[in-house]
């Protein structure tokens, strides 16, 4: 049992009860002690009074008997004349050496002249001593009317020793007592009155003196006197009080213990509840508090258990929801990464093409957007660029966007006509468009040599054209349907020509329909104004400037739609315009070694058209044969048929050969120079052919782009002639 800290309710309660009771007990005990003390004193005094009266009667009887027997006559009995007793010299010396006459007078002993006192010694001593059997009675003696004690109790009648102090105390017989108490006793001659007096002993002890007069033959003779000490009574009462308190405390100790146990038992459900709350608050929601009582606490426990169950259910739901949301977010993030990876993001995109610059940006409203842009070269001179907007946002939109982008890229490779590309893509999308989503799209193909743009539009926002020395204008387009709405729809198309320095600016409705908190739209007008301001800056700055002004406009309003911008600036490339390619030939073969013969024929045909010497043709053939056979033999690890595209062009004094294949990445320029010091047998197989080609060519260039090897070989006609 822990009773130290009044921490628990049960302890507090028991403690309070204990304190209250203890105080009560002590007060009650003290009161009781007082009452008992008073009563006991009263009883004792009554008892002693009665005893005194009896004693008095005995004395009267004794004295009367003496008179009746004729031992002493009545006159002799009433003769109170005293004669001094002369003590033996040895005892007298003991007194006189140290004490004053007054003190000697106090201790002086007397006899009656008649000798009655000696007679009484034998007669009443036994009777007097009878009263002393009660230990409270200190003395019980007969005194005469003058205060003379003829025969004191035996214990105050010890043999004289000559020691003053001892004899004064222990031999008190045959002396005259004249103190106030004794005097008062002498004065009481009333038969009806028991005289009660209290005096203090020299020890400080309180003594009750009870006396009753003695009459002989109706004449007052003296009194019978008894002394009672109340010390014993006081001690007894103190003992009783202490016992009482002790017993009561013990009793209440037991009671308090019981109260503690009962309270604890009663409070057990509360403690359980408290523990349960601790458990629950520490996260253990499956904890059920045991219901033990049917009182208010039981109701609380039931309510609490219900609450916990509800809470647990809520938390479970929340956990599920959160997990689903997290999974979705994580999937969205992955989707975002995929989406961003399928659109070209590397700028400048074509640093080797000085003819134009292109910049684009896509800011999805959510993790993944429905907007798209793309650009790629169809061939050396034709650059295709696309901007589009799927009718929705989020994952479905991004999926459709990816599909659209892939379709366009595939179609553009096969067709260089924008309207046909859109037509094909539209059919593809519309065919399986169960979710009724559609795409607005603008597709343009720039001829990098002329600056002409062939374009087709599928319900997309008209681009803005920024021409030199002219205000920005919005390209006027016919109204058209987006992709995926109707199959076999013919999309309007057109041509514009960009002069050097002109910019075509494409965007999605995320730009023009961005709104601020007043629901004002950014609008076309503001876009045109912004572009006017930005027309002289770099293309990159222009794109980001527009994006920034849109964001600045929307400010705190969350972005509601994807924002996509694509801008293309066309530059004049003088020398290329002056020296256009004289002839270009593109040959596509499959990866079969027999095809090389077919290739040789094509090269010969190309050489004849351009009036190359036989030497030049054979050099070209040699180089091509070496490189293509290399690709055919080592470039493909599967057994499938792969196209190899060879483009021959003649420009100025230079012949350019471009070989494209989708085989494994292989850079012939990485092949180290063969060690010509070694004998033919010692050299590693291969490498020699490539080395030869390197020697023959004036310039070689390799690039891996879009999963293809692109090798460009350049040879000056003069050198070829020289070889000849």
């Amino acid at each position: 049992m822990k009773l130290m800290k009044p921490k628990h309710l049960a302890t507090k309660l028991s403690f309070a009860i204990f304190i209250t009771m203890a105080i009560g007990i002590i007060i009650a005990a003290v009161l009781l002690a007082f009452v008992v003390s008073y009563q006991a004193e009263k009883i004792i005094l009554q008892k002693v009074s009665a005893a005194t009266q009896i004693g008095s009667a005995c004395m009267e009887a004794s004295l009367t008997e003496i008179a009746d027997n004729g031992i002493y006559s009545l006159n002799e009995i009433f003769d109170f004349t005293l004669t001094k007793i002369t003590l033996p010299k040895a005892i007298q010396r003991g007194y006189s050496e140290h004490h004053t006459p007054q003190e000697l007078l106090t201790i002086q002993k007397y006899h009656y002249q008649t000798g009655l006192d000696s007679y009484l010694d034998n007669m009443i001593l036994e009777l007097e001593d009878q009263f002393l059997k009660d230990t409270e009675i200190l003395y019980a003696v007969l005194v005469d009317k003058n205060g003379y004690v003829p025969a004191h109790n035996s214990k105050y009648n010890l043999m004289l020793t000559g020691d003053y102090k001892k004899d004064l105390l222990y031999n008190r017989t045959k002396r005259i007592y004249t103190d106030p108490v004794a005097k008062k006793i002498s004065e009481n001659t009333n038969r009806k009155k028991v005289l009660k007096q209290v005096y203090k002993r020299d020890t400080g002890e309180l003594i009750w003196d009870i006396s009753y007069p003695v009459f002989v033959k109706g004449r007052y003779w003296g009194a019978f006197r008894m002394g009672v000490s109340l010390t014993q009574l006081t001690e007894f009462l103190l003992l009783i009080s202490l016992l009482l308190i002790g017993f009561m405390l013990l009793l209440f100790g037991i009671l308090v213990f019981l109260v503690y146990r009962i309270t604890k038992r009663m409070l057990k459900p509360l403690v359980d509840l408290q523990q349960g709350v601790t458990q629950i608050s520490s996260g253990n929601l499956s904890y059920q508090i045991p219901v033990q009582s049917e009182d208010e606490i039981g109701d609380v426990v039931l309510a609490f258990n219900q609450m916990t169950a509800d809470l647990r259910q809520h938390i479970d739901q929340l956990t599920t929801t959160t997990a689903a949301k997290e999974r979705m977010e994580s999937e969205l993030k992955i989707a975002h990464n995929i989406q961003m990876s399928i659109i070209p993001k590397l700028f400048p995109a074509y640093p080797e093409r000085p003819e134009f610059d292109v910049r684009a940006i896509l800011e999805p409203a959510r993790e993944v957007g429905g907007d798209l842009y793309d650009f790629f070269f169809i061939d050396d001179d034709h650059f295709c660029f696309v901007i589009g907007d799927v009718s929705d946002k989020g994952v479905p939109a991004s999926l459709l966007m990816a599909v659209t982008k892939t379709l366009i890229k595939r179609c553009a490779k096969e067709n260089s006509n924008p309207e046909i590309i859109l037509n094909i893509v539209n059919n593809e999308i519309a065919e399986s468009n169960d979710s009724c989503m559609f795409v607005t799209l603008f597709l343009g193909i720039l001829n990098v040599k002329t600056g002409e743009i062939h374009f087709a539009n599928a319900g997309h926002n008209p681009p803005v054209i920024l021409q030199q020395d002219k205000p920005a204008k919005i390209l006027e387009l016919q109204h058209s349907l987006p992709l995926g709405v109707a199959e076999n729809y013919s999309y309007p198309y057109g041509v514009i020509k960009l002069n050097p320095g002109d910019v075509i600016f494409l965007y999605t409705d995320g730009v023009t329909e961005a709104f601020n908190k007043n629901k004002d739209l950014f609008s076309m007008e503001k876009l045109v104004q912004t572009l006017e301001v930005l027309r002289t800056v770099f293309l990159k700055k222009m794109v980001f400037g527009v994006l920034d002004s849109v964001k600045e406009f929307a400010k705190d309003t969350p972005q509601s739609d994807d924002i996509t911008i694509l801008a293309l600036k066309y530059f004049q490339v003088e020398e290329r315009r002056d020296e256009p390619l004289k002839e270009t030939k593109t040959i596509t073969i499959t990866n079969k070694i027999e095809e090389i013969a077919h290739l040789a024929q094509s090269v010969e045909a190309f050489g004849k058209i351009n009036q190359f010497s036989a030497k030049v043709i054979s050099t070209l053939n040699l180089a091509l044969e070496e490189m293509v056979s290399n690709i055919i033999l080592y470039g493909f690890q599967d057994k499938k048929s792969h196209p190899i595209q060879i483009r021959l062009s003649y420009k100025g004094e230079q012949i350019i050969i471009e070989i494209k294949d989708d085989g494994i990445p292989f850079n012939p320029l990485d092949i180290p120079e063969p060690n010509t010091d070694q004998s033919l047998e010692e050299r590693p197989i291969g490498g020699l052919g490539i080395h030869l080609v390197r020697k023959m060519m004036d310039h070689m260039e390799y690039r891996r782009e879009l999963g293809k090897n692109r090798l460009v070989l350049k040879i000056n006609i003069t050198k070829a002639t020289f070889l000849d």
């Binding site: 005995c58 000696s118 034998n122």
Partner: protein, 206 residues
Amino acid sequence: MFKASVLLLISCMLFLWSPSFSHAQVIREIILKEHQTRLDQEMLGIAQKMSHECQKILEASLDHNIISKEELFTTLYFPEIPLNSPPTFVTFYTRYIENFIRPIENKYLKMNPKIVFAVLIDANGYVSAHNTKYSQPRTGNPELDLKQNRTRRIFNDLTGFSAAVNKNPYLLQIYSRDTGEIFADLSVPVFVKGQHWGAVRIGYAR
């Protein structure tokens, strides 16, 4: 406590009515000279002789300072504690009498087989030294002790008191016990240096 007081009351009442308290239990008579028998005469001679012998010893003791006059003539008695019933006392000369007088008492006791006791008493009837026969150690048996231990008591019933205070040449008293026996109590006073000190008291069957 109340019980004790009741007991006390009852004991007091018993004491009041107990026979030992009353001194009037026997029939007493003083025998005058004309009624004396030969035995009485014989006893008187013995008593006078004993008285004379005691007187001589006491006076000689005073003369030789064996005991002082104050001691010998004292009338202070100190009860022996615990108090015996009946009470016994000692006084300054108790030991002296025991030593010097008891042999004389015993001697006179044997002079005649009729003599029951022969003692020296003082003026208050105090017997300092009874005959050895009556000075046996206490046994604790009250009846036996009453018979065997009668020394150091003050015999001041009417007979004893009369014997003690008698200053005439002799006092012969007879008294019959409730057993039917008749005893004679003969006392002859003892004077020391002319001052009445006590008496020689002889009891004999008559």
